[in-house]
Symmetry: C2
Subunit: 237 residues, 2 copies
């Protein structure tokens, strides 16, 4: 077993060897042979912040950066319905009935595959199908968490919950009692569009959390928290 692992390891394509997505992302499901096949069809590219990522039927590993997903009402009101942080996986087998736009919030690096390859592999590999399902269920759970936040939390709880989410994505293994600081990959407008608030309210609530001593605002985009646990108390759930 250990030996077989080693052999496989040796055959892993060079481009995949250092790739984060092999551990936590989609590619963890593949063996060396499958990775080699995928690597042949994959293409790596980087896109600058602000670029819209067209829904062109490819699947991608998000190697670095942050992507937002938005739904728009007809008169221009906007709601961010989700984020992708590295090493998430983007793309889906079936079209959404109402369009959802994906846009890079930061510079983003992607490793993309044609849809057909993943779809075929999902047919052949139950564990890949299972992984895709698990991934989608996670997104569903997150969407439902935010439904509860949007429907039932106060502005202050929404902002705290948002900061906690970013902190968790910055360092998933962070100790709950120790301080942490991170850059917000979003403008106030994006935060407002995510939390269902106005930018003024977001700004005011951030100021309030600062005067509370719950957060420090280092540099508009850079926040530091005394601890995850402390902000968690403000989230209302």
């Amino acid at each position: 077993m250990a030996a077989r692992q080693d052999v496989q390891q040796a055959d892993v394509p060079a481009i995949c060897k250092s790739c984060e997505a092999r551990q936590d992302g989609l590619c963890g499901a593949f063996n060396a042979r499958q990775l080699a096949e995928l690597a042949k069809a994959s293409s790596r590219h980087e896109v600058p912040a602000g670029t819209e990522l067209p829904d062109d039927g490819t699947y991608s590993n998000l190697l670095s950066g942050v992507v937002k997903l938005t739904r728009n009402l007809s008169d221009g009101r906007q709601q961010i319905v989700g984020f992708h942080f590295a090493p998430d996986f983007l793309g889906r087998p079936f079209e959404a009935k109402k369009p959802i736009r994906a846009e890079a919030l930061t510079n983003v690096a992607l490793c993309s595959f044609p849809r057909a390859i993943i779809d075929r592999m999902a047919n052949e590999m139950p564990e890949l199908a299972r992984l895709l399902l698990k991934h989608t269920l996670n997104e569903l759970d997150e969407a439902r968490d935010w439904m509860a936040a949007l429907g039932r939390k106060t502005a202050s709880e929404k902002v705290a919950s948002f900061l906690l989410m970013v902190a968790r994505n910055t360092d998933p293994a962070h100790h709950p009692a120790s301080p942490i600081s991170f850059d917000l990959p979003l403008t106030r407008t994006d935060i407002a569009d995510f939390l269902g608030l106005t930018i003024e309210t977001v700004s005011r609530e951030l100021s309030r959390l600062r005067s509370d001593g719950t957060i420090r605002i280092v540099n508009k985009r850079q926040i530091s928290l005394a601890s995850m646990a402390q902000i968690e108390e403000r989230c209302g759930d």
Copy 2:
């Protein structure tokens, strides 16, 4: 091809023959042999309105009735994060991180299977895995639609959108221009918990839609619409 279909048809378990879920629900993916295997392990039962459906590791087809899914904040605030209408499919392979409660809103009939059987079949049948994924993606799209509604719609648009959703689930094939009437399977409290409003606001907005002439309130729980198209205009999207 037609002949083979007939042979399969003949072997379909009696209990499945008249079942709605065979057409639109999960069981459409199975052939007669598979249905026979499933039917042996399945159990049909009915539960009265108000019953909590425990997350006991079974999967179920919802044969009739309506189920709500709720998330609660610690201080008792409640948000409904989704509904299941017949012939939806309930149950999931992986635990949610935060608990979600399912409760029957009306009397409900279920056809349940042990998780292990479905999970095994999903491993053996790529088209079942695909159906489960498609189903989950649909739920995700719906959750995101409601995120946009909760975050960005006015109270009046929320109520209109809710009525439209119920109307669509009552008769998915309904002509957009012709009148339709239906029973609300929810109390005002449930509607409020879904839309992130108070019951008073829900009541007032319903009254307003009635004086607008957009809806008729026949009997508190029974609503009739002049047309789907008309209510659609009030939804804001």
